[in-house]
Symmetry: C2
Subunit: 349 residues, 2 copies
């Protein structure tokens, strides 16, 4: 059984999940396998159709046809869950320095597609939209649990980004605590709102589109794609909805057709421009208990893993990036312009 423990020197909570040491690990590669290197179906893959019994019982699916064996997206509990709802969130203390609670929470896997070898970058737009729908369905189902304070949806693509299985999948972790990172990010946004009476992100989007357009990769009707001014890593990419909305769960699903196009186009451009890089994707959303707040603004962050997080970053928390976002954004725009007609359709509008 996992637990959360607090680091008394920083007040950070850490998840200790010894069971996760037993996870299966496919052969490490420095790059994600390309579609041509992988079979379309793998008998040994727990996420491939026909192997559904290898995963815990499904909690959600988007069917492909009426046939029960035929699904487009499946969501299952992570078999090596870092957190489960069996944990107890009561804090227990051993003396003044050791504080812990049970590993309460939710840890799920979203199987993005039945196809073993079709990464998000190469997926049809319709399939990406289904993945987004599954994300939101699970977000909204899980947020009803009052013990849950925050939900993080993320993807690890490629070994250098921490994946352990090649089949395209995403993850959702719901925690009984707000992390220090989000505490800080919400505080900064809240302070701005207290000063200005407006959402920091709404203002930042307007600024980027007007004065910071060298950082803008693409603008569509409802979304803006930027390489942030203070990028942590080369080609860090943010996708921001223009509409103010603090919570990913509250975002109107009517925008998902367009968001699917934008998201796929972004990862397609990274795939083409950086030769199929490992990357992480994270959906940043507000707390689950204050979803309609006026100061936060959900968005997607994507971090290509071209360089290794080293001792200076681990120790000091400062990132050193070897590329300027105004240059990488320009390169992304070039890729979008020169791609085939059937991709980057959101960007070419």
């Amino acid at each position: 059984m996992s637990e959360l423990r607090q680091d008394i020197t920083t007040k950070e909570w850490v998840i200790l999940a010894p069971e996760r040491g037993k996870r299966p690990q496919q052969k490490p590669k420095t790059k994600p396998a390309s579609a041509s290197e992988l079979p379309g179906w793998d008998a040994a893959c727990p996420f491939c159709p026909g192997n559904e019994k290898e995963t815990p019982d499904e909690v959600f699916r988007i069917p492909a046809t009426d046939k029960p064996s035929d699904w487009a997206v499946r969501v299952v509990p992570n078999r090596f869950a870092a957190l489960t709802t069996r944990g107890d969130t009561t804090r227990t203390e051993e003396g003044p320095f050791f504080r812990k609670m049970g590993g309460y929470g939710v840890h799920e896997v979203i199987v993005d597609s039945p196809a073993h070898n079709t990464p998000l970058a190469l997926m049809p737009y319709e399939q990406v939209e289904k993945v987004l729908t599954a994300y939101q369905e699970r977000y909204n189902a899980i947020k009803k649990d009052r013990e849950i304070k925050h939900i993080t949806i993320f993807k690890n693509v490629g070994w250098a980004a921490g994946t352990s299985l090649a089949h395209p999948h995403s993850q959702l972790v719901a925690t009984p605590i707000m992390t220090i990172y989000y505490h800080r990010k919400f505080d900064v946004a809240h302070d701005y709102y207290a000063d200005m009476g407006r959402c920091l992100y709404c203002d930042l989007i307007a600024w980027d589109l007007n004065k910071g357009d060298r950082l803008v990769v693409a603008e569509t009707n409802d979304f803006v794609v930027v390489h942030p001014y203070a990028s942590h890593v080369p080609y860090e990419t943010w996708i921001l909805p223009k509409m103010h909305c603090a919570s990913f769960g509250m975002f109107p699903a009517t925008h998902f057709t367009e968001l699917a196009r934008v998201l796929k186009d972004v990862v397609y451009c990274l795939y083409q421009g950086l030769d199929n890089p490992a990357y992480n994707l994270v959906i940043d959303s507000t707390t689950t208990y204050d979803e309609e707040d006026p100061y936060y603004h959900w968005h997607i962050r994507i971090f290509p893993r071209l360089t290794t997080i080293a001792g200076f970053e681990m120790g000091s928390g400062i990132y050193i990036s070897s590329a300027l976002p105004e240059e990488t954004a320009g390169y992304m725009r070039q890729i979008a312009v020169s791609c085939p007609d059937d991709v980057c359709i959101a960007f070419k509008k």
Copy 2:
């Protein structure tokens, strides 16, 4: 020329150093090369004796003999420095959201030894002591610059820990800002001091030695080695001096003989127990402008890189560790007991 930019959504500073994209990179390996795989001297290595002209001019050395060509430790500016003293720390702003300053600071490389194939884990104790002496000499020389606010000394060992060159070396980065990570860590320690009138770390050491001894890997006259209660990664190891001292620069060098033994023994046990893992080492010290503060306590943190920092850690800041520190500390104690007579001499006392 590099610059620092502030992320307006978190107030973090990020270093943008485009020059560093041009660094030489030796062949990636998932593990550090073992001594037997590397030559003792490599004609192509800029850190090997005889190749001194391949590095910028030396800023410090510890001689091995009277011969000018014969050195034990060398310190040189990083040829691909993330920060230099040519930068200007004046903040400039473009509108309300884009704040930057020049990439002012110091970025040096400590060449730990003339031997290309002798990592810290296998170095003689006397050589480790010389490395520590070089660290402190440079720390104390650089802190005199009033523009510098914080100095981080660190090691990246192995490709998975972010190293680009195999020859044993360390790095020093001096920044004109306090990082958010250290701000928080100092705030937590300061709050404790305000409450209790005592140093958090002094109290934590006393607690660990009494009630938390399952976390203690080793205790010597002047140092304690622990696996922290809320470890971020498996086998995270802290070396804490028992004596209260906020700054690594102010620590009496008379303790360096013992510290060298403790440090080498720790990395030796990790090398033996985890089969030569990649790892990062960081020296945590207070600010350079408040070195005698009563609330902080310098220490060393070591992070083996057995797992990859993935999307959840990157996105939310929460670490998931798959091992319990009370178990890993026990394993480290076993390794120390069963090692040859001429190593772990600090631990066996």
